[in-house]
Symmetry: C2
Subunit: 632 residues, 2 copies
């Protein structure tokens, strides 16, 4: 690392530079991020897009006391580098390294650990109200992308912006992309405006705003009115915000550091919330990322020379199997409709969209609405398949409860990224889906262990005429999961399959979901030690197979295995069922293996499973401890 970046240890150092140097710093920062992320992987494109914006923000504000709130937050790399984490940036998303999202545990420059969309404006309102209550004057800045602003929570917050009677700057970072291109009416409006503008138009808008910028002694109303007149009808988006009575400024070029600095300095004088709309280019400065923004939204390590990108492993992921098989089933059944909320490629719906564009709906980052649309489709006689990551499905809890479970509608939920997710860390783990879904009447919960089971589970779900959830992780399917003949039996409601059984065994491992290979490995190891344990694949968490319960009365101890919090998970459901089946006392020991109720940091998924204590060793220990008692 040479040049100016070398001198930047904190935002204070950045404030010493002049404008030309800041521009140079942007080039260096971009190069630094690119090199580093090519080694570690990470959210490249979004972070490259906001380099100039981040520099200008740190130049004008003092985020030791002022508060900068990120939305989703994966675009915070330049911020992390400037705000004290340059020297550890190569540890991004690695074990014991810094996280890929804002994180107050890392730095006083970060406020909230975030990763979901639509949180910046409402939390900024809360922080501004706290300032207002305590008569403090720290500046509050919420930075939100065009994909997040259409999230319902953002709109609810905008509708409540009037509660704030002091400064609060919302920066709408408009790059026309979520992970996939942003969809919906707001997006259309923004893009219509964007296409109709040249760089010269942006410069004119900027000049116009700056000319009328609030000065001491001039009323805010007067200022805003004059700016509005200057930019009226340039842009229809202004109407959206005007109708909500929110002062709107823009659009301006988000890569123009000097203008951004002037704008921030001016807008700082406003004594009420305002929106500044900027245009940026996702992936800016790295042509492969500019051209294939979904590919570089979140990337593994890649090569920069000649822009060759290392192709990822050819091993099959759960998502791949889902992707292929849904298309196969949809060819035969025209009633199948796929719905996602801005996760088309991530959930493996790309092939479906290409094959059946008319039967595919992406509602943008709007998980609640995705589920309600699916409920309407199911009510109308179709077979909607909703594809949302486990962590984001939390946004749809109430919709699943009322619009799906209460009506008993046949919506199929394909819950990708269930369990521990690896480098994205705590904001993205899917450790609660079994718990929140299994409380709901009518819901069927299932988890396949391998390719055959995932296909079979999907076929089952699409013919069950009830709401069915299928959970699977962001992971390759272990080779060791494939080889079992027991897995070939078709999925039937509440039917488990026994994969291994001994006439003399007194312990059964009951596996739920993707960690079958760990269970199998434990089973083999125990057999080598002379401890014969049965192996059952539970397949269903709701309802649980009665047969698994009844083996307790045959003298079998049980060890449950799952990739979920122990709280409310499969093991918990199993215990509930056992307690009600044996009111006179539970005959044999039950050991539940799952994750403790704590946040497990970014790391590889395997390391996270080790940390959580969900692995073959733990199963072996549990079985040994049960086995040792019989010898007492």
């Amino acid at each position: 690392m040479d040049g100016l970046l070398k001198t930047i240890e904190s935002p204070e150092d950045l404030k010493k530079l002049d404008i030309e140097q800041l521009k140079e710093l942007a080039v260096e920062l971009r190069e630094f991020i690119l090199k580093s992320v090519s080694q570690t992987g990470g959210h490249l494109a979004s972070s490259l897009g906001v380099v100039e914006l981040t520099i200008a923000l740190h130049y004008v504000f003092d985020f030791k006391k002022d508060k900068l709130l990120w939305d989703v937050g994966h675009q915070c790399y330049a911020h992390k580098i400037i705000a004290g984490r340059k020297n550890v940036f190569s540890s991004l998303r690695q074990a014991d390294g810094i996280s890929g999202f804002p994180n107050p545990e890392e730095s006083e420059y970060d406020q909230f650990t975030v990763g979901h969309a639509g949180t910046s404006i409402p939390t900024a309102i809360g922080m501004a109200l706290a300032q207002q209550q305590q008569k403090k004057n720290d500046k509050i800045v919420a930075l939100i992308g065009d994909a997040s602003i259409v999230n319902g929570t953002s709109f609810e917050a905008l509708n409540n912006l009037g509660l704030v009677k002091r400064q609060l700057l919302i920066i709408l970072n408009d790059n026309s992309m979520a992970i996939d291109p942003t969809v919906g009416s707001v997006a259309k409006y923004l893009s219509k405006a964007r296409l109709s503008q040249t760089y010269e138009d942006l410069r004119k808008t900027t000049k116009n705003i700056l000319k009328h910028m609030p000065l001491i002694g001039k009323s805010v109303e007067e200022t805003i009115e004059r700016i509005k007149k200057g930019i009226r009808m340039v842009l229809p988006t202004s109407r959206l915000f005007e109708s909500l009575n929110i002062p709107y400024f823009g659009p301006v070029d988000g890569h123009d550091i000097p203008s951004l600095i002037q704008l921030f300095e001016g807008l700082n004088h406003l004594d009420r919330p305002a929106i500044l709309h900027i245009y940026t280019k996702k992936g800016k400065g790295f042509s492969p990322a500019e051209n294939d923004r979904p590919r570089f939204h979140s990337t593994g390590p890649f090569e920069i020379d000649g822009e060759t990108v290392i192709t990822s492993s050819s091993r099959k992921k759960f998502t791949d199997v889902f992707e292929e098989h849904l298309v196969e089933l949809a060819e035969k059944d025209k009633k199948i409709i796929a719905i996602t909320s801005a996760m088309c490629e991530g959930t493996g719906l790309g092939s479906f969209r290409r094959a059946f564009p008319d039967r595919f709906y992406d509602v943008g980052i709007a998980e609640s609405t995705a589920v309600d649309v699916a409920a309407g489709l199911a009510k109308g006689g179709l077979k909607p398949v909703v594809c949302i990551y486990s962590t984001f499905l939390q946004r749809s809890f109430d919709q699943i409860a009322q619009e799906v479970s209460l009506q008993n509608l046949p919506v199929v939920f394909c819950i990708d990224r269930a369990g521990l997710v690896g480098p994205d860390g705590p904001t993205h783990h899917g450790m609660m889906d079994i718990g929140f879904l299994r409380m709901m009447p009518n819901m069927v919960l299932t988890a396949p262990s391998n390719e055959t089971e995932l296909k079979s589970a999907l076929e089952f779900a699409l013919t069950e005429n009830k709401p069915v959830c299928i959970r699977y992780p962001k992971d390759f399917i272990s080779e060791n999961n494939k080889e079992s003949p027991g897995c070939s039996a078709a999925f039937k409601l509440a039917e488990s399959v026994t994969l291994k059984s001994y006439p003399d065994s007194q312990i059964a491992i009951v596996n739920y979901g993707s960690l079958l290979h760990e269970a199998r490995q434990a089973q083999t190891k125990l057999a080598e030690e002379g401890i014969n344990v049965d192996l059952i694949n539970a397949r269903f968490a709701a309802p649980i197979d009665e047969n698994i319960i009844s083996i307790l009365s045959d003298g079998m101890a049980i060890i449950t295995v799952e990739d979920h919090y122990l709280s409310c998970g499969f093991g918990s459901a199993f215990l509930e069922k056992v307690a009600s089946a044996f009111p006179a006392g539970i005959p044999r020991p039950i050991i539940t293996i799952g994750a403790p109720r704590k946040f497990i940091k970014h790391n590889s998924r395997n390391a996270q499973l080790m940390e959580a204590g969900v692995n073959a060793d733990k199963i072996v220990q549990a079985a040994r401890s049960i086995d040792s008692q019989k010898n007492k």
Copy 2:
């Protein structure tokens, strides 16, 4: 019942009437609803407001095949009466009677059982897409109030309205009220427009729209453009919808049957979604309800003669205790801030709002945002108390998980209407809060049993410096809950209190929350039978007191009691903890008493508890069955 209403058995009968008769029918319907609800209680004011609208809808559409989607749905009384339920209307919200919300189990004229806000537009989109996919032409109508349209889900759906390429009529029923007056920028806009309009203006708008109404051969674009020109700048709301590219018509008088009929007949020809904005008066035709709309939003039985209203019982509810004590604590601690989402009076925040108007925030029907604003306030050093009913807190699951639990912020959640709620039924029960909240790291879950405990729990929560949830039901505090000296001990993290103990007892009842009187009654009865059982008030579901676990090794069997689904509830948490404490086998029987995973219909709360099997008898039976084993 005399007059025209006598002849109406179904919407077909209504279609036979002429316009003058329809007006007369409105008067009769209103009288009928008023009389009937004065006997049964119910959502009076909203239902009185939409009588003419409902008549006009049924006159124009055929809701045997066309689909009418209600939002929240408590305004559906006239609809129920017209659509085949006139003769059972006196059983509204009563045992074995009809429910207070739309319900497809009751009638083919109802689509979704609803009760939460913001669902009508997204489910209508789903139903319209199902029509589109199957090339059917049934009309879809979504009816939504001004309080629900500001919910994030509504906005997300509006943003996706472009997916629908066929008819879909959204009627915005604007009466300026949620339970309390609607808040936020959208509400301000609507009300500004409303105040500036006379009845003559509304008639002009109607005429203008009708004059330009779509005719065969005329393009929709042309029509909409001409209408827009006619009503441009009459109303700023049009800008909000126009900016989302949604054809907007209105505002018109929602009590003018002939105009409504003409409008519906005209708008039926549109081949794309559109919004019709109507003004109605909540409580129309009953002056006490017009004047005190919050009081008559949801009412118990009352007297009509001389408009005297029966005052409700003077017994104290959990909500009353909360209301009083929060004000007492807030007088001493200026950091306490109260937040709700359109449930100020229902959650008992009325006194707080009056005492500390500057420390009270109502964000409208926007539960997600309420929690995020609270997170921001807590981050800013204040002590936010969030008051949301258990069923609506489901809308905030993800915000509580990420913005509160992950940051470990000291937000206090006062969860009213936890457990079974009585006449509102399945859409309003709070049977899942223990489950979805206890999975989250850092969260403390507590449930008081009586006045002393609720006060103490609140004091504890406000000093704990962690997120704390306090759950209590919509119920009076049982006299029998008061008398216990053990309850006077202050709340301390994860500390239970023993209310009764015997030297020789081999069974303990472990109660969690409001049903202490049932536990106590069982305990007394058992003592009379010679079965001495201990009685423990658990107080905390997360973390659970280790001492309760350890008594199992002292030879005690346990019976847990709670007003929650058995799935993921307190008993479930207890079993998890026991399983991990006793890997070699659970020494004594555990019987969990709670509600089964099914929807319990509207009824009195007591009857619902009986149906769920959560009562003293069930506890007595459980203890007897355990006791009988020792004699074997």
